[in-house]
């Protein structure tokens, strides 16, 4: 369930927790890698990925029910 944080890359800057519209990072503490308290409330808007200062430190995993249908 999204988002997924790579703790080796995360700077613990708090940007993602600061801006997340759904506040899935509720309960995160300053100076520590964010916790994902409410993954099921993620809208997959990509704000955390887009505003993270480190490429690859955070990514979204799209859950099965949202897989795109195509042919």
């Amino acid at each position: 369930m999204p988002p997924i944080i790579d703790e080796n890359k995360c700077l613990a800057c708090g940007v993602c927790a600061d801006i997340c519209p759904q506040d899935v990072f509720f309960g995160s503490e300053n100076g520590k890698a964010p916790v994902i308290s409410y993954p099921e409330e993620c809208w997959h808007c990509n704000a955390c990925v887009s505003d993270c200062p480190v490429q690859g430190a955070i990514r979204l995993r799209i859950p099965f029910p949202m897989l795109i249908c195509y042919r």
Partner: protein, 552 residues
């Protein structure tokens, strides 16, 4: 039962903007520019909150440099697409101010030109008028946040305002909110309030059963403004009229006009008459005029329907991807990339999303509501980004002017209201055990879907209305929250329940079928209702709905 004591805070200003989306920030910028002291209270963070949080790429407008000196054809085009919901004066104000706002945004650092020129595309029918300006809105919220601060606005993030404060004459004089992370209640005393909190997104079930957050619009917008305006005595309108969006399946998301492709059925036949091959100027506007197409095609055995980008030129593909990033749709395209799905080779299925209500707060071309001191803008009623930007600006201007004449709140009257509204929150937090917000939200959604969904008739509506009232009563008695995050969701659900009641009350009253509205037991238009609309107001025993002549 343990009582968790809440910290209290009081903030004063001339103008309080509730919701810091496009409309709220524009109101703050304008009011601040005019010298008013301004607060913006946002449930999330104005940098990314609201329906325009991750961007937008199309801004409806009239630009003399592009359209020529005559504004009338553009006004007529907007009016035709509006289906008579807005009076002429509103549409005229909107288009007349649009050029100024486009240039303001460009000067602030939201690029409104493409390759140095005005670029109009999408949501357009071949042979029709181009009125949607392509613009690079990916960082629009950051730009507008910075500008609001530069003009003196105090932006208070992570506070959910949940009720308005009124004086004895019914004038709005402030609001009350809870912090979404800390155990704190905040009272705002303001001479005027601008509501711009967005759509009631979690009223009906989502496209994915059991999954409340897979939505075309951001699920943190829950119609809070509509609900608090209604409870304060303001007029709401059109709550019975359903609205549907359409877009990719199953990754629900607005932005279909940014897709360059042709909507085709499973046998590769175009489902609309407007485009036969991918064309970046138009997209495929059949889904604008016929949003239930995808649902109807499944029901009639002709689906699924796909957005088919096969045959798209590399240039057009790059063009589409550039705008997708600005429309805020990179979540979808990153997903396609990760799955190895190339849109140039694989048509993507589209679907009609869940029902929502078109209705909301009745506000005029000055941003005024029916209550003194209360203004509204943006998605407090149906609209789009340019509507939000322009009427946010207008509402901010008029709220600032009103504030210059407004009086400071009387303290004894306020104290009683604050106490009463605070008790609601304290009761929810004090319950050690009780119903979760999810339980209440799902109960509401299934009731809306089953009893005020696509099959609407007297007996089902009456049964559903009764059931919803019982569910709402239980929610007020039993909702419990373990923390501030859950508390916010509880308050959202109570807001949505109030709005759900309005949908039932209005649908029972409108005994006819017209355009997107249908009643199985009245399958015909009632000409006596031409030119009329339903107005909703809070009464002693529940909502009062009444017919009123529409302003032309």
């Amino acid at each position: 039962m343990t009582q968790k004591s809440m910290a209290e805070e009081m903030i004063e200003a001339d103008v309080l903007c509730v919701g810091g989306g496009i409309a709220g920030l524009m109101a703050a910028i304008r009011a601040g520019e005019l010298g008013a002291s301004v607060i913006v209270a946002d449930k999330a963070n104005t940098l990314r909150s609201g329906s325009g949080g991750m961007g937008n790429d199309h801004f409806r407008c009239y630009l003399p440099e592009f359209h020529g000196p005559n504004i009338e054809p553009v006004i007529q085009d907007v009016k035709a697409g509006d289906a008579g919901t807005r009076p002429d004066s509103f549409i005229r104000t909107w288009m007349e101010k649009s050029s100024e706002i486009v240039k303001l945004w460009d000067s602030l650092g939201i690029p409104m030109k493409y390759n140095g020129d005005w670029e109009f595309a999408g949501h357009t029918f071949p042979g029709g008028i181009f009125s949607w300006l392509k613009y690079a809105g990916q960082n629009q919220k950051g730009v507008l946040t910075k500008e609001a601060r530069r003009r003196g606005a105090n932006i208070v993030n992570r506070v959910m305002v949940y009720d308005l404060l009124c004086d004895d004459e019914g004038r709005v004089i402030g609001a009350i909110g809870v912090h979404t992370r800390e155990n704190r209640i905040i009272t705002f005393l303001a001479k005027s309030v601008v509501l711009s909190t967005g759509r009631p997104v979690r009223l009906y079930p989502s496209t994915t059963p059991g999954w409340m957050f897979n939505r075309a619009d951001s699920p943190h917008t829950t119609g809070d403004g509509r609900a608090m305006a209604y409870r304060a005595g303001a007029d709401l309108i059109d709550m019975e009229i359903p609205m549907r969006w359409a877009g990719p399946k199953y990754f629900a998301r607005c932005g279909k006009a940014t897709w360059v492709g042709v909507l085709r059925d499973a046998k590769d036949q175009a489902v609309g008459p407007f485009v036969q091959r991918p064309d970046r100027r138009y997209g495929d506007a059949i889904a604008d005029t016929y949003r239930t197409l995808f649902e109807d095609y499944i029901r009639s055995g002709k689906g699924p329907v796909y957005m088919d980008g096969r045959g798209i030129s590399n240039d057009d593909y790059e063009y589409m991807m550039y705008w997708m990033a600005h429309e805020g749709n990179m979540g979808i395209f990153n997903h396609l990339k990760e799955q190895g799905i190339d849109y140039k080779e694989h048509p993507v299925e589209f679907t009609t999303y869940e029902i929502m209500t078109m209705g909301g707060i009745h506000y005029n071309e000055k941003g005024e509501t029916s209550l003194k001191g209360l203004y509204a803008a943006g998605d407090e009623y149906r609209g789009n980004i340019s509507c939000a930007a322009i009427f946010g600006w207008v509402a901010g201007e008029n709220a600032a002017a009103y504030s210059r004449t407004g009086e400071t709140a009387k303290s004894e009257r306020i104290a009683a209201q604050i106490r009463e509204k605070k008790e609601l929150v304290e009761r929810i937090l004090a319950r050690e055990k009780g119903a979760t917000w999810q339980e209440a939200n799902i109960a509401l959604q299934q009731t809306m879907f089953d009893y005020a969904g696509t099959a609407r008739f007297e007996s089902i509506l009456s049964a559903g209305y009764d059931h919803l009232k019982r569910v709402k009563k239980k929610a007020h008695e039993e909702l419990a929250a373990k923390n501030q995050h859950e508390l916010v969701h509880c308050l959202e659900v109570l807001n949505l329940m109030d709005l759900g009641e309005l949908v039932f009350a209005g649908t029972l009253e409108r005994k006819e079928t017209r355009e997107k509205y249908s009643r199985i037991d009245y399958p015909y238009r009632n000409p006596m209702l031409d030119g009329k609309r339903l107005v909703y107001k809070k009464g002693e025993g529940g909502p009062i709905v009444a017919w009123r002549q529409k302003k032309q």
